[in-house]
């Protein structure tokens, strides 16, 4: 008896007939009845008879026949679709019952037919992992792949990414790549296997943004709960601020960089080169222009970097245990404080050559260790103020700075990719 067999089960007074599913467990047979319902039947005392073998090829029922028939159109820009896994192109795993990523970039085209006609696409799979399994090594693979795609002529890059760690990967790309074209991250908060998934609007909007003139690393996700607009967030300033909402992503400390009007894009003429406002894509602030800088890759990373959050009661020994780290980002309280017991430990760490950067768990606002004694003592102990950087972004930046620059303290205090806003104007 195998998954996909049609079986007849009798257990006590009950009789069921249907297709055996792979989601069966040692305790339960899970059978899809003819009406479409699944039902679990206790294996104990159940008499099973196989009526017909292999009625459904359950494993491959997912794979759609044929390949994409999208033709090359010279009038359209070329957008590279890079998949790293995640819910924008995912499906149900019948063994675990969980949603997992299974599609490659070609599948994305098939899954989101609305993308057809917007651009010529190059598809590429860099990873097929859940975003919680993302690693700096994959960031490096991704940065190299993006670099190759742009070198090969992509006018824009869309990275399909799980939402959980999207902000970290986006930050990493912002530091590792000097890009002359838009690099747009997108994903979905509601899995692609449901009709209400946000994947279609996010992907379509991301492609529109990838055709724009903003040569920035951006995150393109729902602006509100409605399917009307996507916000374009700067990759280094964005944060997932809700577990499940479509509009979970927010730019911290500023309004989003831009907006994609879905209706305009759907109806729309493709955005012509040189006019970012066409095709429903608009920007609020200045941004790097397409073609302004030359493509470059700085893909070294120091992975021995930790992000430590201080909360009342966190013993200084926790920090001391990290004495081998090359760098530590501390997520302190308020303006950038920790228990005074920590200060000596930090002093020892910096003396031993560990870079220690202070950020704030307030998330919004700038670190300033010059206002209170604790802060002044921290500065004396060698802490670098992380300005208004998000703690997660600061960690990624520190990994990059340790591997690519000589003066880490200077690098951590200067804006490189919009991660530090030298003027605090959160209303803009």
């Amino acid at each position: 008896m195998n998954a996909g067999d049609r079986i007849h089960v009798e257990r006590g007074a009950q009789a069921y007939e249907g297709v055996l599913l792979p989601s069966s467990t040692p305790d339960h047979l899970v059978v899809k009845l003819d009406g479409g319902y699944n039902v679990g039947i206790d294996r104990e005392d159940a008499t099973v008879e196989v009526v017909e073998t292999d009625v459904y090829d359950v494993e491959s029922a997912q794979d759609e026949e044929g390949t994409s028939t999208v033709e090359f159109d010279e009038a359209l820009p070329t957008v590279s679709l890079i998949s790293t896994g995640g819910t924008i192109a995912s499906t149900v795993d019948y063994r675990t019952g969980a949603v997992t990523a299974q599609f490659d970039a070609e599948d994305v085209l098939r899954a989101v037919p609305d993308l057809a006609g917007m651009a010529n696409y190059r598809g590429r799979v860099v990873a097929n992992i859940l975003s919680e399994n993302m690693t700096p090594a994959v960031w490096q693979d991704l940065a190299r792949a993006i670099h190759e795609e742009i070198e090969a002529g992509a006018d824009g890059v869309v990275v399909m990414h799980g939402t959980d760690t999207m902000q970290f990967t986006a930050s990493a790309m912002a530091f590792m790549l000097d890009t002359p074209v838009p690099i747009v991250f997108t994903g979905s908060q509601r899995s692609a296997d449901r009709p209400s998934s946000d994947n279609v609007m996010n992907a379509v909007s991301a492609v529109a943004a990838a055709k724009s003139d903003a040569a920035e690393v951006m995150v393109c996700m729902h602006e509100s709960e409605s399917d009307d607009r996507c916000a374009l967030h700067r990759g280094t300033r964005v944060r997932k601020n809700h577990t499940s909402r479509r509009d979970a992503f927010e730019t911290v400390g500023a309004e989003p960089l831009g907006t994609v009007d879905y209706e305009a894009v759907r109806e729309g003429e493709p955005a012509a080169a040189g006019s970012a406002d066409e095709g429903g894509v608009t920007f609020r602030r200045e941004h790097a222009q397409r073609g302004e800088i030359e493509l470059a890759l700085h893909d070294e990373l120091e992975t021995d970097v930790e992000l430590v959050k201080f909360t009342p009661g966190t013993d200084a020994s926790r920090l001391a245990a990290l004495d081998d780290a090359a760098g530590i980002v501390v997520e302190g309280t308020g303006l950038g404080h920790v228990d005074t017991d920590w200060i000596d430990v930090i002093d020892d760490l910096t003396d031993d050559g560990t870079a220690v950067v202070m950020t704030s768990q307030c998330l919004d606002g700038r670190v300033c260790d010059r206002v209170y004694d604790t802060g002044r003592d921290l500065l004396a102990a060698g802490v670098v103020e992380g300005e208004d950087m998000l703690p997660g972004t600061a960690k990624v930046k520190l990994m990059w700075a340790l591997a690519n620059t000589s003066d880490v303290a200077d690098t951590m205090s200067e804006p490189l990719a919009g991660e530090i806003q030298s003027q605090s104007r959160p209303w803009t």
Partner: protein
């Protein structure tokens, strides 16, 4: 209505009953199961839906047909709905209370409960579910109910979430209200064991009674919906959707049988005549100068007139197949499905401003003889073309068979074409909700309403009518509670059943009356502080000022129960006022004076007491 020999026709019918449960919270979130007014909405959002593949890699035809139209859905949210209804938070676990009620129902229907219940997603992309699917689970199957014409098997029982209420069409699509989305709903499907219209109604009534016996189902319009599946031997399986009233079920079945019989008759006649369906063609030229409002309107806004010749159909397009519905109405339903306003056909023309000359010209244009019929559609070019093709296709089918389809029940127990029958492959697992292992050990079998009626008669001495009124009404719990607390059973039953109805008829706002109002009122009577005659007046006072305490209200309305002295004083006054009459007629004056005495006491005294005192007073003077 014609009664056929249903056995000879091979009538097979089944029921699908959808009943909302009256639980504290929704099936997959902690929101109340409360219906709101659209005006109370505090926020709204818009969405699109995109069809997906089912678990086994197939896409359902009905789902696809619906998705052809790219529509925008707007959802109204309330302070009683949350992110789950908005599809912006994963569903919580299956509501325990709803599952318990479902298990109770399974027991009443004598069903087998599944070892493990799996929540499924049933694809619904008409916008009525924000997720694009309805969550539904098979809880039990294989039950049975009895009817006077034999037992009817119960195929299965599903526990599912109610859909969002459609508020109205908008320019871009449809507006829905999220208040109803997620209310637990049981769907009970019978086996196709029903053999007559009367049995269909009886089975529906029986299931309805069993459902209400749980005391945990919602009441009122729209809280129960019945679908009926009907076929006859040579006909086709038809799903009739949304029968709102139980009383209509037998008529709906009768009318559907008639429709199928008539359609088969038409088919035979058509075949005898060698009928056929032509190709649609543009006949705009015929109507260039028409005064027909409908056609004129279409042409003036750039439309065209499309026609199709139905050879050998003359007289049959206009043949009635259900009360006031013809074969032409069926063709029209299909044309409407493609956006047209409807059709005209030669069996009904000249009419609607179409002249005899135009009909003649039309017949000529499509080369139709006197034995032929012609159908026309006037609309914008694209719609007209799709609509005439749909009508022609339906006419073609008429030559061959009764088509299988889903139909919408009309208020007059007829029905109209809705869409093709849905396929089976439109379900896949709801992975956000773990399977549930039902625990039947805690489930109590509720007393059936029919048993309740019997008990109320034997235990409380209610008459049959009153017992049924109370048991089937919404306040039987309150009734039992009041009797427990010492209220007179008959008075309590009358108060909760007939008195309330009478007050409602007198426009007293009885909706304001709470259980506490009734309880306190009956308690005042039981304690002798209120005459039972004062009950209607007190309830009126409370309904008008629900904030008041029952005792206060009784006091304010001067309804305190009069003591015997007060009664005697009032009665004496009345008797003295009529001393001549009393002297002349003696006890003969009793009934005339009784009314006046009660009036004098204004509901403050018990009628029996007044009557005793009046009798004594008359005797004294006679």
């Amino acid at each position: 209505m014609t009664e056929y020999d249903y056995e000879e026709l091979g009538l097979v019918a089944g029921l699908e009953i959808h009943q909302q449960l009256d639980t504290a919270t929704k099936l997959f979130c902690q929101c109340p199961t409360r219906i709101r007014e659209p005006e109370e909405s505090t926020r709204s959002l818009t969405r699109y839906l995109h069809p997906t593949k089912s678990e086994l890699g197939e896409i359902d035809d009905a789902a696809l047909e619906e998705s052809m139209v790219d529509r925008e859905f707007e959802y109204l949210a309330y302070d009683t709905t949350c992110l789950v209804e908005e599809d912006d938070e994963p569903p919580h676990r299956v509501d325990r209370e709803a599952m318990d009620v479902a298990l109770e129902i399974a027991q009443l229907l004598d069903m087998n409960v599944a070892d493990q219940v799996h929540v499924m997603r049933k694809i619904v992309i008409d916008g009525s579910n924000t997720s694009g699917f309805q969550r539904s689970m098979l809880v039990a199957n294989d039950g049975e109910i009895s009817t006077s014409e034999g037992s009817v098997g119960i195929e299965d029982m599903l526990l599912e979430e109610e859909s969002a209420q459609r508020v109205e069409e908008t320019d871009a699509g449809v507006r829905f209200s999220l208040d109803r989305l997620g209310i637990p709903l049981v769907e009970i499907g019978t086996k196709p064991d029903i053999r007559s219209p009367a049995q269909a109604r009886e089975a529906a009534e029986r299931i309805g009674m069993l459902l209400r016996s749980t005391g945990q189902v919602k009441r009122g319009l729209g809280t129960i919906r019945q679908d009926v599946n009907v076929s006859i031997a040579d006909g086709a399986r038809i799903e009739l959707k949304g029968v709102q009233s139980l009383d209509d079920i037998d008529d709906i079945v009768r009318n559907e049988v008639r429709r199928q019989v008539e359609l088969l008759d038409i088919r035979d006649e058509l075949n005898e005549r060698g009928a056929s369906v032509g190709d649609p063609q543009d006949v705009t030229a015929v109507f260039e100068d028409t005064d027909s409002g409908v056609i004129r309107g279409a042409l003036d806004s750039g439309g065209v007139v499309q026609a199709v010749r139905l050879s050998g159909f003359d007289g049959l397009v206009g043949r009635e197949i259900q009360p006031d519905r013809r074969l032409g109405t069926e063709l029209s339903d299909h044309a409407k499905r493609h956006g047209a306003g409807g059709i005209f056909h030669t069996d009904e023309l000249p009419a609607y401003g179409v002249t005899e000359d135009e009909v003649a010209a039309l017949r000529e244009a499509v080369d139709a003889g006197p034995e032929d019929a012609v159908v026309i559609v006037a609309d914008d070019p694209e719609t007209a073309e799709l609509a005439i093709e749909a009508a022609a296709e339906r006419a073609e089918t008429a030559l061959d068979r009764v088509p299988e389809e889903t139909r919408d029940a009309n208020d007059d127990a007829t029905s109209r074409y809705l869409r093709p029958l849905p396929g089976a492959a439109r379900m896949y697992p709801e992975t956000d909700v773990p399977p549930v292992t039902p625990d039947e050990s805690e489930v109590e079998t509720p007393e059936l309403l029919t048993e309740k009626v019997d008990r109320y008669q034997s235990e409380f001495g209610l008459d049959a009518g009153l017992a049924e009124q109370v048991a089937y009404g919404q306040r039987w719990r309150l009734f039992e509670d009041a009797v427990d607390r010492g209220a007179d059973a008959t008075l309590a039953a009358q108060t909760l059943a007939s008195t309330v109805t009478e007050l409602r008829r007198d426009d007293v706002p009885v909706a304001h009356l709470t259980d506490d109002h009734f309880r306190a009122t009956l308690e005042l009577v039981a304690d002798g502080e209120l005459a039972k005659e004062g009950v209607p007046e007190l309830l009126t006072a409370l309904a008008e000022e629900p904030g008041m305490d029952a005792a206060e209200a009784a006091e304010a309305a001067g309804l305190g129960s009069a003591g015997e002295d007060e009664v005697r004083a009032a009665v004496s006054t009345v008797v003295e006022r009529h001393d001549e009459q009393v002297a002349e007629e003696g006890m003969g004056a009793f009934s005339a004076l009784m009314g006046e005495c009660m009036g004098e006491l204004r509901g403050k005294a018990d009628g029996d007491v007044v009557s005793d005192v009046l009798r004594e007073e008359i005797q004294k003077r006679a």
